[in-house]
């Protein structure tokens, strides 16, 4: 029989180590756009004849950092001009994954259309694209790509870890006139429990987004219960363009991009969330609408409730009744997970010049299911083999 001797010194260490762990893990739980995180998501990545996307990622770690990234292609199948589940026109949800390695505090970047090959010779091309320590072989995208990019901090062997060292920004560039708009990647922070995520007792690798606000009992922070948009009414005359006598007839346009938090990369199953929208104008009058997000959705606000005639939409300025509005987006079904996204607003002047801006969306609450914190949202990674 083995005798375990009580070690007083170690007991003292352990006692305070517990205290230390509690202090270290007391961060408030939310998705974030201005803090480093273990998962970063870029909801809108576009590459086509008119538009491209610059991805910038930094490591906030003093040690080498590894990340497993997933491009999700959400194009519609050939022959589909618009999304219509009734005839099978739903996003193809095709994922491509790759790994990146960053040295301490290393920034990196790549353009979606080009990717970034591992090319030691480009280190000698001072100031040119590709100069620097290549983070890994990043594949280029096919023209026509629309979808998202997600990167997850992992150990060298690919198992998720709770580093919270990643931060990213995406720049959407219009190639003909260099119009640009930028948004911060959405970050999902993790707790120490994330280290034990993979593999589970069924051999799967499932990241559970169930850490409630103000606690550290879960693995990854929960996705938000509500998204809150603060936007100009569709078709409204921009007051600054009007001030300078340059307001065009098109008016302001808003394009909302949403993706479900839940993803199943192992079984290639796209998340589906039906969202309810509550719209408040400046006179405290309330309107509502709803739509479904499958895999990835980018939609003009007027197309949500009136795709055939934007002027009849509740988001259209003459129906909304005020210049700006607050739109609150909540999953409608009690069993659905959450959504995250970005908003892009376009202004047009009298000579049809356009200018776009992207803004991160405000979040409220945590989408947690039940008192046992079984998360609504889960990300299942492909099993390593």
């Amino acid at each position: 029989m083995r005798t375990v001797k009580w070690n007083a010194f170690l007991s003292g260490l352990c006692g305070f180590a517990v205290v230390l762990g509690v202090l270290a893990a007391s961060a408030r739980a939310d998705v974030v756009t201005e803090k480093t995180a273990s998962i970063i998501d870029f909801p809108k990545v576009i590459y086509n004849a008119n538009e491209d996307t610059d991805i910038q990622i930094v490591s906030e770690s003093p040690m080498p950092l590894f990340a497993h990234c997933f491009y999700v292609d959400a194009r519609l199948p050939s022959g589909c001009s618009k999304e219509d589940p009734r005839i099978g026109c739903t996003p193809i949800w095709q994922e491509i994954d790759f790994n990146i390695t960053l040295t301490h505090f290393q920034p990196t970047h790549w353009r979606a259309s080009i990717g970034r090959p591992v090319d030691p010779s480009d280190d000698f091309k001072f100031g040119y694209y590709g100069a620097g320590i290549d983070p890994g072989a990043i594949p280029p995208l096919t023209s026509g790509f629309q979808g998202e990019l997600m990167c997850i901090e992992v150990e060298m062997d690919g198992t998720p870890r709770d580093g919270n060292h990643l931060f990213g920004v995406a720049t959407l560039v219009t190639t003909n006139d260099s119009d640009v708009s930028k948004y911060n990647a959405i970050g999902i922070q993790s707790t120490v429990a994330a280290n034990a995520t993979c593999p589970d007792d069924q051999g799967r690798c499932v990241l559970i987004l169930n850490n409630p606000r103000g606690e550290s009992s879960g693995e990854y922070n929960a996705c938000p219960q509500t998204l809150v948009l603060n936007h100009v009414a569709e078709g409204a005359t921009d007051p600054i363009l009007d001030e300078f006598g340059k307001a065009g007839t098109t008016g302001v346009q808003n394009q909302l991009t949403l993706v479900p938090c839940s993803k199943d990369f192992e079984n290639q199953i796209a998340g589906t969330v039906t969202v309810q929208l509550a719209v408040y104008n400046e006179y405290e009058e309330r309107f509502s609408a709803s739509f479904t997000v499958t895999c990835w959705k980018t939609i003009e606000l007027t197309d949500i409730d009136s795709p055939t005639d934007p002027t009849r939409s509740i988001f259209y300025y003459s129906n909304l009744g005020s210049l700006t509005a607050q739109t609150r987006i909540t999953p409608a079904d009690m069993s659905d997970g959450a959504v995250i996204g970005v908003l892009e607003t376009t202004r047009t002047d009298t000579t049809s010049n356009t200018a776009r801006v992207s803004t991160n969306i405000l979040t409220e609450g945590d989408r947690i299911k039940g008192t046992d914190f079984a998360g609504f949202d889960q990300i299942q990674l492909p099993v390593q083999f």
């Binding site: 010194f9 006692g15 610059d54 100031g127 930028k182 603060n230 100009v232 001030e243 005020s322 607050q326």
Partner: protein, 424 residues
């Protein structure tokens, strides 16, 4: 002779205790632009509506109440324009950026003197109400004015019997006091029931929205629009929010932001380090061929609106490129700092930009990471926290397009010395 017996348990505890003391027990700063908050800051507001100006620009400011109850806010618009000491003499302009602006032609001896002048105003917002105004115009009549347009009755039992149908005559937003204008805006959520301008009992409030754990109900977006002669440009950023702690309820006009004493912190603190993920100045966009330049705007967290004072803060910068190479520099900020990245480490103006450590000619890679750390000055009653936004400019074929983005913070503890905002 006294014999000291070593206690192994205490030795282990002491070892960890030493490490514990090194780990700052400062509450992690929870500021952010993606949550509603009790204090919101717009670091960069610009306007130039002068007749015939070559740089027409204005800012659309959107503020919203994310809660289901009425709220109120006190706001402070800071005019950070610099002015020529010899304005009006032989065509010398009033507003300037650098000394040479005050010495046009044969004029000499003029100096560009930094300014800091605040204008405050207040307004109320009904449940879920969004408002917006153009910086140069302000808003003198609110959508719900309590006289002609009255909103639904607020069921909050904590409000007066009139359920906030009192005239909202106190809600008014002035236009920018000067053209051109550049500066910042800070709005603090206050208790709507004690909104009395004469006695100054507008007590900062910790918010009413229980979904957000009563951390504040304000949120905002600023959109800068430049309608140029032959082009159009726009950029937008979310207002930076500082959430309230439970200590903020019923507070006074001295707002304590963060610090090492969690029982004293009324609002979340400003970060110890800011993290800027950027392209180096002069980098060429690989597809469009545009040349990229980044401008950084920093404003102090600590401001005394009662005595109209801020302070000078030294800033340390660490710059990493994609070769993992590290550079550093420093400068200082007083009230409001807006400059290109290259000008941080060189003389203001484009002449020295090519040799700046923020320039692609020096760094050799297109993107970089800059860590920005304000240095504690040790001045009593004032912290040295900074907040800011970045603006990126893509210049190509004679046209310039821009975007704006919020600066991030590493996942480390906040500042030990609290920042202080004093309201009049």
């Amino acid at each position: 002779m006294r014999t000291v017996k070593r206690n192994p348990f205490l030795a282990g505890a002491a070892a960890i205790l030493g490490g514990l003391l090194l780990v700052t027990n400062i509450a992690s700063a929870e500021l952010g632009s993606d949550k509603s908050a009790a204090i919101i800051i717009f670091p960069q507001l610009v306007s130039d509506t002068r007749m015939g100006t070559a740089t027409p620009v204005d800012t659309l400011i959107q503020v919203q109440n994310t809660s289901s109850h009425q709220i109120a806010a006190r706001c402070f618009l800071v005019n950070a324009n610099s002015h020529c000491s010899n304005a009006g003499f032989m065509g010398v302009p009033l507003v300037c950026d650098i000394d040479s602006d005050c010495n046009p032609g044969a004029v000499t001896g003029g100096h560009c003197i930094a300014g800091w002048q605040e204008t405050d105003f207040r307004f109320q917002l009904t449940p879920h109400q969004p408002i917006s105004w153009v910086l140069s115009e302000g808003m003198s009549v609110f959508p719900i004015d309590g006289l002609i347009k009255i909103g639904p009755v607020d069921p909050d039992t904590g409000l007066p019997a009139s359920n906030n149908q009192e005239p909202f005559g106190t809600s008014s937003i002035p236009p920018a006091p000067e053209q051109p204008f550049r500066g910042e805006l800070k709005c603090v959520q206050v208790d709507p029931t004690t909104l009395t301008p004469d006695t100054g009992t507008e007590i900062p409030d910790d918010g009413t929205n229980t979904v957000n754990n009563k951390v504040g109900d304000l949120a905002g977006v600023a959109t800068i629009v430049e309608p140029k002669a032959t082009d159009l440009d726009a950029r937008a950023y979310n207002a930076i929010g500082l959430q309230a702690t439970p200590n903020a309820a019923g507070g006074d006009n001295t707002l304590v932001l963060g610090g090492s004493d969690p029982d004293a912190a009324e609002y979340d603190g400003c970060p110890g380090v800011l993290l800027l993920d950027h392209f180096f100045d002069g980098a060429t966009d690989p597809v469009s061929g545009a040349t990229i330049t980044t401008k950084l705007t920093l404003v102090p967290c600590s401001e005394n609106f009662l005595t109209q004072q801020t302070g000078k803060t030294t800033i340390q910068y660490l710059v990493y490129n994609e070769f993992e190479q590290r550079f550093s520099t420093s400068n200082s900020a007083n009230c409001y700092k807006n400059s290109t990245l290259s000008d941080i480490a060189s003389r203001p103006g484009p002449d020295d930009d090519a040799t700046s450590i923020f320039n692609v000619n020096v760094q050799g890679t297109l993107s970089g990471q800059t860590r920005i750390r304000p240095v504690d000055s040790g001045v009593a009653g004032r912290g040295d926290g900074l907040l800011g936004v970045a603006e990126e400019y893509f210049a190509n074929n004679g046209k310039t397009r821009s975007d704006a983005f919020n600066i991030s913070k590493p996942n480390i503890s906040g500042r030990a010395v609290p920042d202080i905002i004093v309201l009049p």
